[in-house]
Chain length 312, copies 2
């Protein structure tokens, strides 16, 4: 794997995604003590960075694979991203979702022409159903975060950020399934000679933090939860090695710190970000004395929130 792969991936996905703007805020600079550069993937198509990885994964299929479609299990942004990316490329997308998924999430997939296939809600039931679709329909399974092409695709956000701001000392990324932070780490490695990548993770779901400690993929306790619903997933065997080798460290944040960071971004920057997006900024605020006067990029991962249920 090398720099050239990311350059090619970026060329390939470019026509299908937005080059999102990088916003700054003097007020948030003052509050944090650092020079912040927010990469606004909440302005990405369908409202999240997931569009990058989904698009690249489909573009990397051959003609025969494209004819048979793609399948994934996700009830969040990746389900929508794969549906929309597939629609734009004339490919069929099968989305395995738990029967009890909220109707609003089902509707979002339907709006983007994804075909929902219901399963029981346990992770194993969802995986089995996706495997069944793969076997019976010949659709290619695309994992939301543990897939090389998805990881490369997600890395294009940080690549653009470093192209716009080569002076960055750090990039903060939220950590959920590991696709975004692994891609970000690759981009930093290939397109900067100094930029370090730091993860922000909810303390309630600190599997990635513990995985870096133990050196093997850890899971979360049954029943643990976080307001950052996009991060309720664990690392995988494709992204963990990249993270282990290239991510400086992970900072864990409490639920109230996530909500406070989210509120700051809404009120001061006037942009809509989902709780998962606020985790990276919350991590910076938590240890802000260590990043004083540094140039810090922050990946705003998405902006899909239910306006009827805000945490503030």
């Amino acid at each position: 794997m090398n720099k050239q792969i990311l350059i090619e991936v970026h060329e390939r996905v470019k026509p299908y995604i937005h080059r999102t703007p990088v916003l700054t805020s003097q007020l948030l600079n003052d509050i944090s003590g650092a020079n912040l550069f927010f990469k606004c993937e909440n302005f990405q198509k369908m409202g999240a960075f997931k569009m990058r990885g989904a698009t690249n994964a489909i573009l990397s299929l051959n003609d025969d694979q494209r004819k048979k479609g793609v399948v994934t299990h996700s009830s969040g942004n990746f389900a929508q991203a794969l549906s929309l990316a597939a629609k734009g490329l004339g490919v069929k997308a099968y989305i395995v979702m738990p029967k009890n998924a909220p109707q609003v999430k089902k509707n979002a997939v339907i709006d983007y022409n994804g075909e929902i296939i219901e399963s029981d809600s346990t992770p194993i039931a969802r995986e089995e159903m996706a495997e069944k679709v793969r076997m019976e329909l010949g659709a290619t399974f695309i994992h939301p975060s543990n897939d090389d092409q998805v990881i490369y695709g997600q890395g294009t956000a940080a690549m653009e950020l470093l192209e716009d701001h080569p002076e960055l000392d750090y990039i903060f990324s939220p950590v959920g399934g590991g696709g975004l932070i692994a891609g970000t780490a690759l981009a930093a490695k290939y397109f900067s000679n100094k930029c370090k990548v730091i993860g922000g993770e909810p303390k309630n779901m600190d599997d990635a933090y513990r995985s870096l400690q133990s050196g093997k993929i850890e899971s979360n306790e049954n029943g643990s939860t976080t307001i950052a619903d996009g991060l309720r997933t664990v690392l995988g065997d494709r992204n963990f090695p990249i993270i282990k080798e290239n991510v400086e460290r992970i900072i864990r944040v409490e639920e109230d710190e996530i909500v406070a960071a989210m509120k700051l971004i809404w009120e001061r920057m006037k942009i809509i970000v989902e709780p998962s997006s606020a985790v990276a900024f919350a991590a910076l605020l938590k240890e802000k004395e260590k990043f004083k006067n540094k140039n810090v990029g922050i990946i705003i991962s998405g902006g899909n929130v239910d306006l009827k249920h805000l945490p503030f």
Copy 2:
């Protein structure tokens, strides 16, 4: 008055304001049928375009006037804008506010170092109190919208928009006190040979619409109100002649149309805009068949909302 004045004003205020980004949205283009360019003054300092006019008004004072400070009556964005602009320039700002103004609005002024002077809540009581401050302290009175320097300052938003997008056929601006739309109309006149300016106004407060019909400044009925609280003001003798001569027409919108347009912007563009900002977009949507395939700029005037009281 000519083009040169606006160029000089822009040069003068530039160091003190943000050059706000212009955002686009394929989804909103699809919904409206036009090519939309949103000038995001919600990202302006203190969250609204008012910062431009307030800054220019203070910068146009002489040294003696600056020493004695400025005074205005406003309980909204202009109070905050004048306070913040004055603070940055080392000038004292006296803000006349009704005793019963919400504490959150008072706090916003105090945060920016403005000195609040309480009055009764009628327009006349507020004007009299401002006049008293002017007489007793020698502070220069600056009207929120009916002041030449304020009008020129507000016009710099459309000037930047046309610099970025000279291809615009129309610019839509909300109409409240008339400062923004008058400045916008001057910018379109001087920096485009084809761009027309159209106002969006709440039907409930359609004084500007009626003023254009009758040819003289009209007022609103006692007790009328609108969710677009920034627009609950009437035109003045400085801005009305400019509007009469240079604004193509005004489109009136219902309250539910304002809320629907605001929700579309929040959900689709992922930016926080106040109801007044949504009025211009609502006006376009109302008559969208007339603007099909046109290049349309929309001034997003501000993003100061109370997140605890959203209309959706």
